[in-house]
Amino acid sequence: MELNQLMFFLLAGLILFFSVLAITSRKILRAAIYLLTVLIATSGLYFMLNYEFMAAVQLTLYAGGIVVLIIFSILLTSHISHKFEQPALANVFAGALTGILGCGVAIWSIIKFPFVTTTQPALVVDMKVVGTQLMNTGDYGYALPFEVISVLLLAAMIAAIIIAKKGN
């Protein structure tokens, strides 16, 4: 086995293992930490693909941003002695069934997809290309979605401020 493959299986194994832990843990903060590990391992996959920009975005936004916010809200709301109750058996079964179904669909589509092996060297993603593409208004440009998302975020922020103000 090559080192590359070893690395991939290691990361994939980490992601699978901690995903299962994250949903089965009965302590909420531990679940958040397992989720963090999953996200960091995912960014490791991006690093393997030489897509460093995506990897750094994954680290900043998900690991550094969203998980910190999740942990922060857990800190404010829950106590250390709090534990989730064991879910009802029917729920466990329904959840497992949905999980297996989703997994099956994913595996099926991966098997069905005609992957073509190339001998070309790995593509180096130039940051300038990413930048111009993001701000491009022409074909395949991301300027419009970018702006629409910013409006959405603005709306969310205003809503948050209004909710926070209501207390006073």
Binding site: L3, L29, I71, L75, I80, V124, M127
Partner: protein, 363 residues
């Protein structure tokens, strides 16, 4: 082999070639990783310990004292003795604490600082990995350390720790913005996020000089915001000893406490190194165009010394802050960021974009 302290490229290629010729590429890579890891751990330990020593000496200087001067010449071995003391200390277990997270927290803090140190260019050709998004990566990794602090505060099951952790969370999340935006200004100037390119672009002058007013503003903002992000005085609210006894690490003892302690100093080193790299030219010597004689003398000083010298200078400024200013209050801290630093930063970035567009900086 051609070993040259002014350019490590030939040395690193020699090591790489020697390894690949004697074993399979996979193993060669593995050995390289191991070497880099060992070097970094050793470097980390030495820098961490001697920053503690430096802080004690600087603080003694400011406070009309002598500082450590008993163990070894000038007290140089004092912090090593302290390390042994901390290693031997009993690890106190807290009843009702979440043991797993309680033990995990110091490691998260220290791993985050390890990840950041990997991307720093110490001298020409001397860096572990030269990512093409170097600055972005540093910014991303530096935001992970706070998770360790939050965990430490919550899992100790102590109210003081929890308040410290919440303070630190609010503080780091806010000040990250200013740090990122201040670094962005130099990205605009140099047109690259790769640290080696940024350093190369300062061969004819550091950005703080070439970028004049807006670069100086960014530098000052970066200095303030990064001091806050590393939880150092006057922004050390997370561990404010007069209010929260020790904040998030109140319940830690022995080597686990030492991890937090070491990580704090390493974070200080990392932000100082980033500032030195981005604003003060990294390992580039100080050059004044036209004065060839002086420039040659400056070139004679090895790049590694330049880098460490600049870093030490910024660390000194940060220590100077800490030992002269009183601590801010939490609302003042957040007000400073959201009402003053952030708007100033955004305006500064617009200004920089304009200056770069017009070409009004020193090329």
């Amino acid at each position: 082999m051609d070993f040259n302290i002014y350019d490590f490229t030939s040395f690193t290629t020699w090591v790489h070639n020697a390894l690949t010729s004697s074993m399979s590429p996979g193993w060669a890579m593995f050995v390289e990783l191991a070497i880099v890891g060992v070097v970094f751990i050793a470097f980390y330990a030495v820098i961490g310990l001697y920053l503690v020593y430096a802080e004690r000496k600087v603080c003694a200087l400011i406070q009309n004292r002598k500082g450590p001067n008993r163990v070894g010449p000038f007290g140089l071995l004092q912090t090593i003795a302290d390390l042994f003391k901390l290693l031997m200390k009993e690890l106190i277990y807290i009843k009702n604490a979440d043991k797993f997270l309680f033990n995990l927290a110091p490691f998260i803090v220290i791993i985050a600082s390890f990840m950041a140190i990997a991307a720093l260019p110490f001298a020409k050709g001397l860096h572990a990995i030269d990512l093409n998004i170097g600055i972005f990566y540093l910014f991303a990794v530096s935001s992970l350390g706070v998770i360790g602090i939050l965990l430490a505060g919550w899992s100790s099951n102590s109210k003081y720790s929890l308040i410290g952790a919440i303070r630190s969370g609010a503080q780091v999340v806010s000040y990250e913005l200013s740090v990122g935006l201040a670094l962005l200004s130099i990205v605009i100037f140099s047109g690259s996020m790769q640290l080696s390119t940024i350093v190369e672009s300062q061969a004819n002058g550091w950005w703080i000089i070439k970028g004049h007013i807006p670069a100086i503003i960014s530098f000052l903002i970066f200095l303030v915001a990064s001091t806050a992000e590393t939880n150092r005085g006057p922004f050390d609210l997370a561990e404010a000893e007069s209010e929260l006894t020790a904040g998030f690490h109140t319940e830690y003892s022995g080597i686990k406490f030492a991890f937090f302690f070491l990580a704090e100093y390493m974070n200080m080193f990392i932000v100082a190194a980033i500032a030195a790299t981005v604003f003060l030219g990294g390992w580039m010597p100080f050059h004044i165009p036209g004065l060839d004689g002086m420039n040659h003398v400056m070139d004679y000083i090895p790049p590694f010394v330049w880098f460490m010298g600049k870093t030490a200078f910024i660390i000194f400024i940060m220590m100077w802050f800490k030992w002269t200013f009183p601590r801010l209050r939490i609302d003042q801290l957040l007000k400073l960021e959201w009402k003053y630093l952030l708007p100033l930063n955004l305006m500064n970035i617009v200004l920089i974009a304009f200056i770069v567009l017009m070409g009004w900086y020193i090329k």
